[in-house]
Subunit: 275 residues, 2 copies
């Protein structure tokens, strides 16, 4: 799903599905202001308009929010390239990277290169269901150079229960969101092997240190202070305590490695994938 904003209207591209009762998902969202399939029980603002037509959804938008699983990003960008406003600003909430022949490519870079526009990122300790019921949380906007654009994103997302901070370190913020999922697998192994709290805290700390070292190896501009932001230590904590990577890794270790990750993923994640 990728959201597109245009003045007060939030046009949300939705991959169209037919619901069991024969209705189209976008129609139901627009009639009920509720995404009955993926976020049931939560009322969306009346200014959110679901649109099954990707090109139509992005056409007039001045702010583009990307929130799809990372494996779909390249295809989506290729479909909308040349069909958006030249002055549009993008932000990516997508966690992950494309590993290409010539090396790893961050999703924000992919967006910038495919669409020819500036792209910031938003990451943090942000379990979606908790944000939806307005429990207090924080997030980090990472931006490259355009501080004004970053401030606009902060203004857009900021509420009394969702505190957003901008830092000039797009790669650091994006890599935090991506690499913590690797650490969560290690944390899951520790849980599965019942190694205790000292070991788990050590794994999380060493994982954070590895995240920092790896990020700085890829991008020497990455700042230490970014790892103290919500996208860093806080997201690491939530992901290593809850999170599907941790959960499946725990099951893997509990089974002594005798059941594959593919098998456990299919059984435990109801169609979602490890990231």
């Amino acid at each position: 799903m990728s959201c597109v904003m245009n003045s007060d209207e939030v046009r949300m591209w939705v991959y169209e599905e037919t619901l069991p009762n024969g209705e189209k998902l976008t129609d139901v969202i627009n009639q009920t202001n509720e995404n009955v399939k993926y976020l049931p029980g939560i009322k969306l603002g009346k200014n959110v308009v679901a649109d099954p037509d990707l090109e139509n959804a992005v056409r007039d938008a001045n702010m583009l929010v990307f929130v799809t699983p990372h494996q779909f990003m390249e295809g989506i960008c290729k479909r909308i390239a040349g069909k958006i406003r030249a002055d549009a600003e993008a932000i990516s909430l997508v966690k992950g990277m494309e590993v290409k022949m010539e090396g790893p490519c961050m999703i924000s870079t992919l967006i910038s290169e495919e669409l020819g526009i500036n792209c910031s990122v938003l990451m943090g300790a942000n379990i979606a269901n908790e944000i939806a019921v307005e429990k207090f949380s924080e997030a980090t906007v990472g931006y490259r150079q355009n501080r004004e654009a970053a401030e606009r994103w902060v203004q857009l997302f900021y509420t009394h229960y969702f505190i957003v901070t901008a830092v000039q370190d797009v790669e650091g913020v994006e890599l935090c969101g991506t690499l913590k999922n690797v650490v969560a697998i290690a944390a899951g192994f520790v849980d599965g092997l019942e190694m205790g709290n000292n070991t788990k805290a050590a794994i999380m700390r060493l994982g954070l240190r590895e995240m920092k070292a790896f990020s700085k190896l890829l991008f020497p501009s990455v700042k230490d202070s970014t790892f103290f932001e919500s996208c860093g230590v806080a997201d690491l904590i939530t992901t290593c305590l809850g999170g599907r990577n941790r959960k499946v890794a725990e099951a893997y270790a509990k089974n002594g490695g005798k059941r594959s990750f593919d098998e456990l993923e299919a059984e435990m994640l109801q169609g979602q994938k490890l990231q």
Copy 2:
């Protein structure tokens, strides 16, 4: 309890108690190599000698390890002042500080000032029972200037399951060990109010930031990097997940503040105190 080392012998001062069967605790420890009251089920090295006589225990020691509740530290120091080797090195595992009329005084400073010797500290994500059964964990030695003394402490404590790292930031390390207990109370409130994982991660992150700011206000020499060590982020994690401060604060919040901390402490901690 304060331990004292002298070549291969570890002389451990034990506050003498008579056990229900009429035997003295120190006698039982020396006969069985087990602290049957405070660490039952764990065999101590045969070189550990329990001694009920504080002055005798410290007299010939060249390395002094302090591990008592912080409220007893000043009295203990006054009792042994002038009765130790002038070249003894001290290390404090004590968490807390003395708040005096003239301002806060770190325990390592108290030891140095009262005894006229150098004092390092050891802190980290170190739940004692887990270390006792040799589960992997890490710790941080904080030292002031004497790097050689710090290396000797590292050598003394280091094993294949207990990884010790030395950093030149005695105040930073000691304040981490002290201040995380305050953050754990906030984490307990979040748990008691069922505010969710995003909020808890935010509280822990903001707590870590406050710990850093407060430490640097007291001691401008404190380093940011110390908060990435085991004494920092890792100990904060274990304390905010388990830990008695978290637990009692959770109960306080669950009871809507209607039962006092004193009452809950007496009921829940079997004679231990919040720190």
